[in-house]
């Protein structure tokens, strides 16, 4: 019996890890330059290169790192930095939640190992894949971005300047562009229309009225609220879950830690 389905992809196939890494290739120039800018800033703020790389590989969240390194002083304001990091990275609760279909039916250890290397970029690229149930793809993108990010950090730290200004080549716009483009790939049909409009309006209002990255939460919250209000029972099994309908309802009701082999059904 060979029924195609997400359960047949291994947890971390080397082939899917490689494809995940290639999929993040368009982000290489901007990630390396921003990594270098952070390296220059860290050198000025008195972090050692070792500390910076330790941060890049354990925290792995660009915008929070920029704010933290900027707040860094000789006596480290630890509480301020950790609170700022928590606020800026709060969107990862939502990003983590939205990754549920990627980890459908996977054991807990796969989730524990994969969730560290989740940045906005590899998350967005992964969520637009046709077959979502593929944690290796997500991890591959994360490893690639981590290596590029750390390489940029090192280059910036050692060169200590002479880094091209990202704005000149519109490299700062690369992240905006990639997220805008990937939004098109997330369109699942007209049920998305009102939640997306609400998210756009919410984030615009948040942008003008709230500090920092709260606009992300304002927009996502507005989108979620409208999605909840516009739901009707007949909408079930539309969109994303429909892709797995062939697996039978049991496939996505799979208990933690089991990938249902077809023989058991």
């Amino acid at each position: 019996m060979s029924r195609p389905g997400p359960a047949h992809i291994g947890h971390f196939d080397s082939d899917t890890i490689r494809r995940g890494a290639y999929a993040c290739l368009p982000l290489l120039p901007s990630t390396i330059i921003f990594g270098a800018v952070l390296g220059v800033l860290a050198a000025q703020r008195g972090l050692s290169l070792g500390e910076l790389l330790f941060m890049s590989l354990t925290v792995f969240a660009g915008s929070a790192q920029f704010v933290s390194v900027d707040l860094w002083r000789e006596t480290v304001p630890a509480a301020t930095i950790i609170i700022a990091t928590a606020v800026i990275n709060m969107r990862y609760i939502l990003i983590g939640a939205s990754l549920r279909p990627v980890f459908r039916g996977r054991p807990l250890w796969v989730k524990v190992c994969s969730m560290h290397m989740v940045a906005d970029e590899n998350w967005a690229v992964t969520m637009t894949q046709e077959n979502l149930a593929n944690p290796g793809f997500l991890l591959g993108g994360g490893i690639f971005l981590g290596v590029v990010w750390a390489t940029g950090n090192t280059a910036g730290y050692l060169l200590g300047g002479g880094i091209p200004d990202p704005e000149v080549y519109a490299l700062d716009f690369a992240f905006t562009a990639v997220f805008a483009a990937l939004t098109i790939g997330m369109w699942k049909g007209k049920v998305d229309f009102l939640p997306w409009i609400a998210a756009a309006i919410g984030s615009i209002i948040g942008h003008y009225t709230l500090p920092g990255t709260w606009s992300i939460l304002a927009g996502a919250g507005a989108g979620v609220a409208i999605a909840a209000l516009t739901w009707r029972p007949d909408m079930d099994d539309s969109g994303l879950d429909g892709e797995f309908a062939v697996e039978g309802k049991n496939a996505y009701g799979a208990p933690e830690g089991t990938i249902i082999p077809e023989a058991q059904k």
């Binding site: 500390e51 990003i95 549920r100 756009a200």
Partner: protein, 109 residues
Amino acid sequence: MIAFPDLTTFSLEAVLTILGMAAVTYGMRLGGLLMADRLPQHGRWAHVLERLPGAVLISVWVPSALSAGAIGIAGAAATVITMALARNLFAAMAVGMVFVGVGRYFIGN
């Protein structure tokens, strides 16, 4: 820089601060996923969860396009249109970035 870059100093307070940052960040990443696993697989909340990635993504880039000014808004529109027509990430990014780069060169922000 005059002194050779400081490569290997690890101060205790720096390491603890970084570990604190890492713990809250990883906790939210994994916590979000594990919370979503507890939500129903069908019905209203499953529907909401499916709309979530698009809503988050839009809320990430719309404000940053606004921050980049009129040229940023136009560049984002150009990117979205190119992606809708060509369905090619490289092409869409290139159009948006060239648009913004050229726009800044000739017009300024």
